[in-house]
C-alpha cells in the first residue's frame, strides 16, 4: 500500500480526475473531501462491504423458498414465467 503524509487542506490525486482532500482533523476523526467523475461511485468501505455480502447471500435464494405475498394472498401454481 502506498502511504503518504498530508496536512489539512492538502490533497492527493488519483489518476487525472480523482482528488482526495483532507478537510479537517478533530481528534480521531478525519473529514475527507473527494472530487471524482460522476461515473465513479464513492462509498464508505464498511457499507459497501455489507452490500456486497448481502448481494452474495441474496443470490443463493431458491425459488422453492420464496414466501407467499406479504399481504397473505395465495398465488396460483402457474408454471410459465413471463418476462415483465
Amino acid at each position: 500500500m502506498l502511504v503518504l503524509t498530508r496536512k489539512v487542506h492538502q490533497s492527493i490525486m488519483i489518476g487525472d480526475d480523482i482528488e482526495v482532500i483532507v478537510l479537517d482533523i478533530r481528534g480521531e476523526q478525519v473529514r475527507i473531501g473527494i472530487r471524482a467523475p460522476k461515473s465513479v461511485p464513492v462509498h464508505r468501505q464498511e457499507v459497501y462491504a455489507q452490500i456486497v455480502a448481502e448481494n452474495l447471500e441474496a443470490a443463493r435464494t431458491r425459488p422453492e423458498d420464496v414466501p407467499p405475498p406479504p399481504e397473505g394472498e395465495n398465488s396460483t401454481n402457474e408454471q410459465k414465467r413471463n418476462i415483465v
Partner: protein, 154 residues
Amino acid sequence: MKIPTTRFGEIKVEEKQIIDIPGGLVGFPQCERFVLLEHLKESPYRWLQSVDEPSVAFLVINPSSIVKDYAIRLNPEVAESLYLSEETLKMVLAIVSVPLGKSKEATVNLVAPIVVNSEKRLGKQLILEDTDWSIHHRIYGTSEEVRSVEEKAA
C-alpha cells in the same frame, strides 16, 4: 435469443427485454445484463435473472409494497447517469434474501435499491448513505415480535 438459467431452465429472451446495469450489481461486476421474470402469477415477487451468468438471479420486490412510506431521493448524478427526469417511467426494485428453507425469515435490502429507467431499460444499484432503512428488513413481522414470541416459548 435463448439463455440458460440454473433455476428456470432455458428461457427465451428478446433483446428489447434486457435491462442493462452498467458495471453490474454491487459485488457482481460481471453481471451487466438482466431480465425480469415473474415469480408466480399475481405474486409481487419477481426474479432479476442474469443474462450472462445462469446461476445468478435475485428475488426482487417493489419496496413500496413492503414499506408504504419508502422513498429514495435520487441525487442529480445518478438521475443523469440513468437519463431520468420527473416524467420518465421508472421502477424501484429491492433485493429479497431468503435463508435456505426459511421463507418466514425473508428480508429485504432497503439500503441498496435498484433503480431502473423503464423506457431505456437501464438500471443501477444504489447504496443509500446516511439512511435509517435496514439492509435486513424483515418482511414478515419485526425482529422484536419474533423475539417476544421466542421469549414466551422459553
